[in-house]
């Protein structure tokens, strides 16, 4: 928690005390910590001069915000139109079985979080998955397996 507190301080320094900076601050915390802890939410809302309910109202509205700790590695599987046509759903189901979690969840050992997205703008390579920042093109379960193993060994 200490870590999030330190990061928080530098985030607050960067933005004026105005409501329109709420989303910026939440994004920065999320980028550095992977999620928004309740303590951070409280302090950010106070700094932005908005009630804490507005903080949660915003954080639950947008898909990119996470209110729970995330796994060490993020797997994103695209379920945009092109990827849907080429079987993106099957990739997600496969991972759900393999990792024994649902989409949006994190494995018990905190190693992997499985998320789905709507179009990564790389439809030529459909179906597309991204492990951390590495794009996998024409993804198959076998290719995903390899990437997950590689990520785990880092």
């Amino acid at each position: 928690m200490l870590q999030q507190a330190e990061i928080l301080e530098s985030v607050l320094e960067r933005y004026p005390s105005k409501p329109e900076y709420l989303i910026f601050m939440l994004q920065d915390i999320q980028a550095d910590c992977g999620y928004i802890a309740p303590e951070s939410m409280e302090i950010i809302c106070e700094h932005a001069n908005v009630p804490i309910t507005q903080g949660y109202s915003v954080a639950t509205f947008y898909q990119s915000f996470r209110l729970e700790p995330q796994g060490e590695h993020e797997i994103k599987v695209c379920l945009g139109t092109a990827c849907h046509l080429k079987g993106g759903e099957r990739l997600v189901e496969n991972l759900e079985r393999k990792l024994d979690i649902h989409r949006g969840e994190t494995t018990e050992d905190m190693m992997f979080t499985l998320n789905t997205v709507n179009c990564l703008g790389a439809c030529a390579m459909a179906p597309v998955a991204v492990v951390d920042d590495e794009y996998i093109s024409s993804t198959t379960p076998a290719k995903l397996d390899k990437s997950l193993k590689a990520a785990q060994q880092q």
């Binding site: 105005k18 409501p19 329109e20 900076y21 709420l22 989303i23 910026f24 939440l26 994004q27 932005a48 908005v50 507005q54 109202s57 915003v58 509205f61 947008y62 898909q63 990119s64 915000f65 379920l79 945009g80 139109t81 092109a82 849907h84 046509l85 079987g87 099957r90 189901e93 496969n94 079985r97 997205v117 709507n118 179009c119 990564l120 703008g121 790389a122 439809c123 030529a124 390579m125 459909a126 597309v128 920042d133 794009y135 996998i136 093109s137 379960p141």
Partner: protein
């Protein structure tokens, strides 16, 4: 810039990066240094070239030789043969699927030769991270003209003459929108760029931002000048890290060159731009929702009027334009609106960028003159349908759009004509579907998306889309009843007429257009409990058809749970106990041998 003997324009767009352009680039750079060619040969990492299907791609200038599907292993041969001996490496050229001939020059490849590059005129020709290269191709000349030689009225008149209509979906004339905002008095006005690109399966705006970010900035400067605005925001989605990075760099360089900031080009005009990173919500592409989001709130639309040109961001007059709209503006001011209006149809002028994907050979980004037929776009530029399958439908306009069947493929690309056949031009996503696509499943897919993205503010959209989804899901699962179709039609009308914003008003389109052209597929699901395209798992038997099975074993290899029993020269068999109905075997089988 010192002129190199050869310039290697290597694509570094999201597509080519994913297919491995960076390992290739590293190998190429090392080999060029090893052969001591650094002085005469320059590698330029460009933005998206557009031909993502055959990436990584590289264009050799000034010769215009186009190489495709490059691997690090190809480097020694390429350097030795082409860069040193001047001989084109045949095997790395594009091969025409029809004639089987290799085509060396980019402008001879049908994918490129049928296009017309205006909004994307710089893609692949410049390093998007260098402002000088943009300027060398007449960049910021339009802005200079607008700022130093033209009054705001003249700018607006020129844009009106061009007939430029918004490329973000609605097709509203840009000049008219600017005129409204210019006439509103206010201490501050805002100029916004919509780079939210939420339509799943569309990547035009991403590619423009990656390939030519300065063109968008130039458009914003001119728009700002026209309406008298001093502050701009670009609202870009987080899923586009590369576009965000390049935009950030472009803004920094433009400031250094005095093209943003105070007293631009000594004209006394001040304007600056900031990037606003979207937090992931489709509805934020809608203009009023986008403005709320910038204000730090939930991105929910509000009723109009008041229109943003009067009361927009922070309740101040605001103009919002799409990335592609803005990318056209600099050239319009530089060369005049009339030249722009010389291309296109009666009501739709200039060019339009489309992202073609799905079941089509040449997946990628294309820019075509308005008025070209969909058939030409899909079959000549897109190269037709792969794997010898048959065309079934094309989906235009994303979740708010519609499907167009084969017999309407001669419809021209034109806002009004496309609307007439039940789709929309939309932002430019074109999804081609072959005969293995189930249209009911497609409708379900889009409704699922819309239902999820409905912001929940107005009841018809929130509840109505959920009801439609439930019914379509039921039909896909084989529990459809005859009344369902009528209920769908009825619900659609109500949602269309009574929703607050464009999301709800167009939400039933995927269902309506599939019902209109593929009614028999709905009937097969409802009355015969059969999915003709074999996509809806609940309606399939998961049994191998012994007469059709060629004993090839492809299904056996594809099954993720080892539910298929197969030995060489034997018909495959699916163990129903183990089968999880994932459809992998259906996709793998080339002989339609699974029922």
């Amino acid at each position: 810039m010192n002129q190199a003997r050869l310039e290697l324009m290597l694509c570094g767009g999201t597509g080519c990066r994913a297919s491995g352009s960076h390992p290739f680039k590293d190998a190429l750079a090392a080999e060029i240094t090893r052969r001591e060619l650094d002085g005469e040969i320059r590698i330029v990492e460009t933005g998206c070239n557009g031909f993502c299907a055959v990436g990584p791609v590289m264009l050799v200038l000034p010769e215009d030789v186009f190489y495709q599907k490059l691997r690090p292993e190809d480097v020694p041969e390429l350097v030795e043969e082409h860069l040193i001996k001047g001989k084109v490496v045949e095997r790395l050229l594009y091969k025409d699927p029809g004639t089987k001939k290799r085509i060396p020059l980019m402008h001879d490849i049908p994918f490129f030769s049928n296009q017309m590059f205006w909004a994307m005129r710089n893609k692949g020709y410049i390093d998007p991270e260098k402002i000088d290269e943009y300027i060398a191709r007449d960049g910021y000349f339009g802005a200079a003209r607008a700022l130093t030689e033209m009054s705001p009225e003249m700018i607006i008149e020129e844009v009106k003459t061009s007939g430029l209509r918004g490329r973000g979906g609605a097709g509203f004339p840009a000049g008219v929108k600017w005129e409204f905002a210019s006439k509103t008095q206010s201490d501050i006005k805002y100029t916004l760029c919509n780079a939210d690109e939420g339509d799943p399966g569309a990547f035009m705006d991403r590619s423009i931002l990656e390939a030519d970010p300065h063109a968008v900035l130039e458009g914003m400067i001119i728009a700002a000048r026209a309406i008298g605005s001093s502050k701009g925001y670009i609202y870009c989605r987080t899923e586009y890290p590369l576009a965000l990075a390049r935009l950030g760099l472009a803004i920094k360089q433009a400031r250094e060159y005095g093209l943003l900031g105070k007293d631009i080009l000594g004209s006394g005009f001040d304007f600056d731009v900031e990037i606003y990173q979207g937090a992931g919500a489709f509805v934020c592409g809608e203009e009023t929702a986008l403005m709320r989001s910038i204000e730090g709130r939930r991105g929910m639309p509000r009723p109009r009027p008041p229109f943003p040109a009067h009361k927009g961001l922070f309740n101040k007059p605001t103009v919002l334009n799409n990335v592609e709209t803005l990318a056209n503006v600099g050239q319009i001011i530089l060369h005049g609106g009339e030249r722009y209006a010389s291309v296109g149809t009666e009501t739709s002028k200039g060019t339009k960028v489309f992202a073609i994907s799905g079941d089509v050979n040449n997946i990628g980004l294309v820019e075509v003159p308005m008025g070209i037929t969909l058939r030409k776009m899909i079959f000549e530029i897109g190269g037709g349908i792969p794997k010898k399958r048959k065309f079934k439908a094309v989906q235009l306009g994303g979740p708010s759009g519609g499907c167009i069947p084969e017999h309407l493929l001669d419809t021209p690309v034109d806002f009004e004509e496309i609307a007439k056949v039940g789709a929309i031009m939309g932002s430019g996503g074109v999804i081609v579907m072959d005969d293995q696509t189930c249209m009911v499943d497609m409708a379900r897919f889009f409704m699922d998306f819309i239902q999820e993205e409905s912001c929940g503010k107005c009841t018809p959209c929130r509840e109505g889309t959920r009801r439609i989804l439930q019914i379509v899901e039921r039909i896909c699962e084989g529990h459809g009843v005859p009344e369902d179709i009528e209920t769908l039609e009825e619900l659609s009308v109500v949602i269309k007429n009574s929703s607050l914003c464009g999301l709800g008003q167009t939400a039933p389109n995927p269902v309506l257009s599939t019902l209109r052209y593929f009614r028999e597929e709905y009937d097969a699901h409802v009355y015969e409990k059969r999915c003709p395209a074999k996509r809806c798992a609940a309606l399939l038997d998961f049994k191998v058809n012994e007469d059709k099975c060629t004993k090839c074993g492809l299904c056996y290899k594809a099954c993720p749970v080892d539910a298929i029993v197969w030995k060489k020269k034997e018909v495959a068999f699916i163990d129903q106990e183990k089968c999880i109905q994932c459809l992998s075997c259906f996709s793998a089988c080339k002989f339609d041998a699974i029922d």
